[in-house]
């Protein structure tokens, strides 16, 4: 059974068995504006928490995606190469960015569930 959790950096993680799919939230997409390019991580690269995994370029600025877990990059969303605007139109579904095989079990207390995340956004505004 899969589970979706959120980070304070406005990333979402869908956890299924030993694969974690990572993307940015609707809120992050609104903040970024029109996305024109995404620099994806290399498949097979080993990442540690806080490493810069991807860069999202919007018309105005570049934003970095820091990886929220330790692990190895399994796949990247190649569709974003030709259609970076998927990140605007479907950030939490077709606009996923990459998948990671975590090197150890995730500490769920590091993340927020959907309700906590909504509260976090509201408090921030």
């Amino acid at each position: 059974m899969d589970q979706v959790v959120y980070t304070k950096d406005h990333e979402w993680l869908r956890i299924e068995d030993n694969v974690v799919t990572i993307g940015v939230t609707e809120f992050a997409q609104e903040q970024l504006g029109d996305v024109v390019f995404i620099e994806l991580p290399e498949v097979g690269s080993e990442l540690s928490v806080g490493d810069e995994a991807a860069v999202i370029e919007s018309v105005k600025a570049a934003g970095e995606i820091a990886v929220p877990i330790d692990g190895v990059v399994l796949t990247v969303n190649e569709a974003l190469v030709d259609q970076p605007d998927l990140l605007n139109s479907a950030p939490e579904t077709d606009g996923w960015i990459f998948q990671v095989s975590p090197s150890e079990a995730l500490e769920m207390s590091d993340f927020m569930d959907a309700e906590q995340y909504q509260q976090f956004i509201q408090d921030g505004e």
Binding site: G33, V36, F37, E57, S58, V59, K60
Partner: protein, 373 residues
């Protein structure tokens, strides 16, 4: 981001907020960087329809005096004596070392009167500069005056209805007129590369004027984000980025803004701050020059990125860059040594350590569509 109380608001602040504008501090003002439409669509809307820009943060200054031409000509390499009434020109305030203190638009209002529009971030310094160097003239900062720019292909449709006189203006001409009974000074100008108008209006009637313009459904507020991408595609310099006190007008590739008569062989040669250096640059050439770049791929190359030659030597720097919504490709400009400032020269820009191929190109990247009559 907290809204610092130090930032000023223009007359249009509540309108921007009501229109969903994302307000950010800019040059001491809270200004809309974008609206819900987003920079990409706002940019495209301006080119094909009509975009309304609040540029009230810019400095509007009137300078008057019997010797105003002679005094102002000491500060800018222009032939102001030859400027007809209601004609305007792009200009730079030059520095004693041949750099640029600010760029501006100067309009002749009368034999002894000029109207200047200067950059928001430089206005206090510009006014002090004018007061220092124009002892015989009156320098009047119009701090009760708003400024809006109506830009784009269909801007003229609106103006032709509301103020028919303005529709006959050509690029860089102006006139005093009224729009729906509101007194304005209108010029056929702007900084988007499109046909359009800038309208100076009293703060008291600024909102009433905006209401008249926004009544057209193809006219929308446009933020600073799209203003930047529009001017970038149009190849226009942004002060403090593409030029500054360390760059001469020749290095900034705006030699066209230096009047013939103020050049070495001209009848009013020199006589402006930094003339010796600037004329030497004109006559003997410069070591570095501003050029435009086409960028391979879709990754934007932004301000501060280093430029390298094909041997990997860092040879220059990007001073403005982003994604061009009309071009659907990244656009950039920057400085390179003169010998590399040749259209077609292939270089690389270093983006997060990775070399991205860039090619020196002719500017503007998107053709300007000014109304030249």
């Amino acid at each position: 981001m907290s809204e610092s109380t130090d930032n000023k608001k223009t007359q249009f602040y509540d309108y921007h907020v009501a229109a969903g504008g994302k307000m950010v501090p800019f040059a001491g003002y809270l200004m809309p960087v974008q609206y819900p439409l987003g920079i990409m669509q706002e940019h495209l809307h301006t080119r094909d329809n009509a975009g309304l820009f609040d540029v009230s943060h810019m400095g509007q200054v009137v300078v008057r005096g019997n010797n105003v031409v002679g005094e102002l000509e000491q500060l800018m390499p222009l032939d102001l004596g030859a400027l007809a009434i209601n004609q305007q020109s792009y200009a730079t305030f030059t520095s004693p070392t041949g750099g640029i203190l600010d760029d501006l638009i100067i309009t002749r209002w009368a034999h002894d009167t000029f109207f200047l529009v200067v950059n928001a971030a430089c206005k206090e310094q510009d006014i002090a500069h004018l007061k220092t160097h124009l002892p015989d003239s009156e320098v009047n900062y119009l701090d009760q005056q708003s400024l809006i720019a109506l830009q784009g292909l269909r801007a003229v449709e609106i103006m032709a209805e509301l103020a028919p006189q303005t529709a006959t203006l050509v690029f860089m001409q102006g006139c005093h007129t009224d729009i729906g009974g509101i007194e304005c000074y209108v010029t056929r100008s702007g900084y988007t590369g499109e046909d359009g108008f800038e309208i100076s209006v009293s703060d008291d009637y600024a909102l009433a004027l905006a209401d008249l313009l926004l009544a057209y459904d193809f006219c929308q507020w446009i933020g600073l984000g799209a203003r930047d991408s529009l001017r970038l595609e149009a190849g226009l310099c942004l002060y403090g980025h593409d030029m500054n006190e360390q760059t001469s007008p020749v290095e900034a590739a705006i030699s066209w803004s230096i009047s013939k008569s103020r050049r070495s062989e001209g009848e009013k040669s020199g006589g402006f701050l930094g003339a010796d250096i600037i004329l030497r640059h004109l006559d003997n050439g410069v070591a570095k020059k501003r050029v435009g770049f086409l960028v391979e791929g879709r990754a934007p190359v932004r301000e501060g990125a280093e430029i390298a030659d094909n041997e990997g030597n860092v040879v220059g720097i990007i001073t403005s860059g982003g994604f061009g919504p009309t071009l659907q490709a990244p656009v950039a400009m920057g400085y390179v040594p003169k010998e590399l400032a040749v259209v077609g020269t292939e270089l690389t820009a270093l983006v997060r350590g990775k070399p991205r191929p860039i090619t020196v190109t002719k500017m503007p990247l998107v053709p300007q569509r000014y109304h030249r009559g």
